[in-house]
């Protein structure tokens, strides 16, 4: 009986406290809230658009191939179909159309006039209204090196020339805000995702390049998962930024939340992890980054987040020292 006392007491008090507080704090009006939330939504959209553009820029610089090589062609602009969320942020955008979300840094011309919020109307004179049109156009014109793109802003149209990037593979890059863990993951086929807290953890462009290149390494080296207990949420080709936009409208039961569950813990073998590291270090060197940043990142990750270093026997990832040793060995090769 005695031990019940504090529990009952606390419930009683919580009830009293709650009613007292409700009276004390009712000073936020509906109007204030809606004004603030509109502004917050814009900030949130911009945050994800900025970061997904940055991650995609780095990703396609890693994926970029020489002329004549590579299997896929992409234009160096991140696009999204106008949906409800987009139209709330850009009220000018048409009901059906494709909107510029970001311009890929290092791949698009520096003096490109198109910016976020502009509408892509046509490519080489062919009208583009949705992702299907875009995919069809890229498929029908596989060997173009340059494309004339028409954009419009507030009803004013103009044309600009865009280079076509030859990529080893077409990959959808996501920024995952559904988890607050420091994580990056891939499904091994078409998605590479980086969590918002990983973006915070990565120190500078070099480390971020390593993280993305490591995940791309899994995809390009054809690593298959040993087991796949949970299927990742289906991300269709048409939903370029659709998955991202799902994340932007948080609500209980949103399907995008399950994305991380199946993927973040995808068990690649130790050998595959080392191979992905070596791929990443090689690409970094080719892109003119210091490959030593890879070792620095692995070390910092192990030092600052020791709980990620699992016990040897259960580990899917090799220990950080093994990874660092493998990278050193790679650096020693001519």
């Amino acid at each position: 009986m005695k031990s019940c006392f504090p529990t009952i007491f606390s419930f009683l008090f919580i009830g009293l406290l709650a009613s007292a507080c409700a009276m004390k704090f009712s000073s936020v009006t509906k109007e204030e809230r809606s004004i603030y939330e509109q502004a917050l939504e814009r900030k949130r959209m911009n945050f994800y658009f900025d970061n997904v553009t940055e991650v995609t820029s780095i990703g396609y610089r890693i994926l970029q191939q020489k002329k004549g090589e590579g299997t896929d062609s992409v234009i160096p602009i991140l696009l999204a179909e106008t949906g409800k969320a987009i139209r709330e942020m850009f009220p000018d955008s048409p009901e059906e159309g494709i909107l510029v979300v970001g311009v890929l840094r290092g791949l698009a011309p520096q003096d490109l006039k198109a910016i976020r919020g502009d509408i892509l109307e046509a490519l080489d004179g062919v009208p583009i209204r949705n992702e299907k049109d875009l995919g069809k156009f890229m498929k029908e014109n596989p060997d173009k090196e340059k494309i004339r793109a028409s954009f419009s802003r507030h009803g004013n149209s103009w044309e600009e020339e865009l280079p076509v990037v030859r990529a080893a593979k077409k990959i959808r890059f996501l920024v995952d805000g559904k988890t607050s863990e420091v994580a990056a993951y891939t499904d091994g086929k078409e998605i590479v995702a980086v969590s918002t807290q990983m973006l915070r953890f990565a120190a500078g462009e070099e480390e971020l390049t390593f993280i993305i290149a490591h995940e791309l390494g899994h995809v390009l080296e054809g690593h298959r998962l040993k087991t796949f207990t949970e299927k990742p949420a289906p991300v269709t080709a048409a939903a370029s930024l659709g998955a991202l936009l799902d994340q932007l409208a948080p609500g209980p039961g949103s399907s995008a939340g399950s994305l991380i569950q199946g993927l973040a813990q995808a068990p690649y073998s130790q050998k595959m992890e080392l191979a992905a590291d070596v791929y990443a270090a090689r690409r970094m060197k080719e892109l003119g980054f210091d490959p030593a940043a890879a070792g620095r990142f692995i070390k910092r990750f192990a030092v600052e987040l020791p709980a990620t270093q699992k016990k040897h026997m259960l580990s899917s990832h090799p220990t950080s020292s093994e990874r660092m040793a493998a990278l050193e060995q790679f650096a020693g090769k001519p």
Binding site: A18, R33, G177, V182, Q197, P252, Q265, S320
Partner: protein, 500 residues
Amino acid sequence: MIFAPRSALAALLALSFMASSCAAPKSPPAARLDPVLEKESLDFLSEQQIRASSIAYRLELALPAESGPKQWLSTFLQPPETRTLPFIYDDLPGAIRKNRALSGSQNAAITGVLKDFLPAAADILAGDAITSFNGLAVTSAGHLDRFVREAPKESWITLGTAREGKESMHRLPLLELVRDIPASVDPGLLEVYSGVSLYGEIILSNPLLRFVESEDELAFLIAHEIAHVRALQYTVQAMTREERKVAKIGTRGGSFLAGLVSGTFDPVQAKAHMNTRIFLEAEELAADDDALELMHSAGFDPKAAARVLERMSIEILSTSPDSIVRIHPVTSDRVIMALKKAEALAAQPAPAPFSFLERAGEDSGLGLVPGSQLDHGGLGILSYGLTWKCSFFAKRAGSGSGSLVFDPALDEVCWFVELSGLESAKQAFQRPEFHIEWFSPAAIKVYETDFKTGPGSGSRMSSLLALKKFPLKERAGVWRVRVTLGGRLIDDRRFALKQG
């Protein structure tokens, strides 16, 4: 009564453990440091712990005194663990001791120092072994915990340390807090997290410490959790270091680290001691409100609160109910109210810049705090000992406090003790004994006396030293009274008499 809540907590602990193991079948594996990177990891994690502790102590020093029924309750339920040292310490396992060239008998070592709370002259560093406290040998961190708990209030202490075999002594201030609510950084947590444990401690994660962009932002998150702990209508009893080890839930900074090295720390167990109670919206808003006021009085910038809350709601879209960010509209309301409150606080006069050492007063070198002087005939007494109290908490004797009183009319100095919780003492097989010794300025033991607690002993006991027995000439100088309870030192203070 005193121990009843413990069983309730144990039940809660078991329940929440079950709940967490059901909810998360993919439990994280036991954490262990990479042996190659062990030193770097320990240094990094200690640094993070120091960041959190410095802010928590600074906020707790600015807390208003507790009053009303809570104060009454806390005298029963809360052990007087409100004193703490300006550094964090722990028992270091053999591997690290070897690494740092510490000798075998020195288990307790400093794992980090709180620079804001240390005198400039104090040369103590993380890695130093702790050898003594006020002249008493220290063999383990638990040992030191007890000495600190039993040390006289508002005093400076003497700490002996060893570095590379060389011993040295330091004078350090004790931090006197209204309430000690430790903030621990749990390296087993991989998500952005801040919360309150079942034992009224604040738990933070490493990703959270990376998420905040300034110490003001971190101060808001800690102040918010302090507000939650203070709002709990029952006072929880803190676990001792030994109990934590058994339960495999390290905390108070150091234990987490040591546990990681030895592999005894279990993140799953640690998660189980987190408070799974979800706070109501109104409670969250109340905690924010309290937190902003506390930040203001501790000299932090309350504007940081709105910034960190907003950034959280942007970067972390998690919608689970125990998530750090709640679903709309709570977060929006929190940001709007934080902005309003910060503006209101900005209009108030700014508090004086924070300086702990100024508050700690000057060290007389004798464990005395200098102060006003009382004149009496041919004698004056120079000591705050008049109002000094020492508090202690012993299982068999209950708890109590000892005071030193000077009576000018009778020329007597009296050390007296008031006890509470004698019920347990009555049942005790062995009754502890108070042993009181008086020393003259010439360091000669002039008088000693014993008294036992137990049935019929009453709640007040005292030992008198009649000064008139001594010639005036011999009275001037520093006197000392030393009290032990069941063989353990509970009070050791000096008072100065001077020629009027």
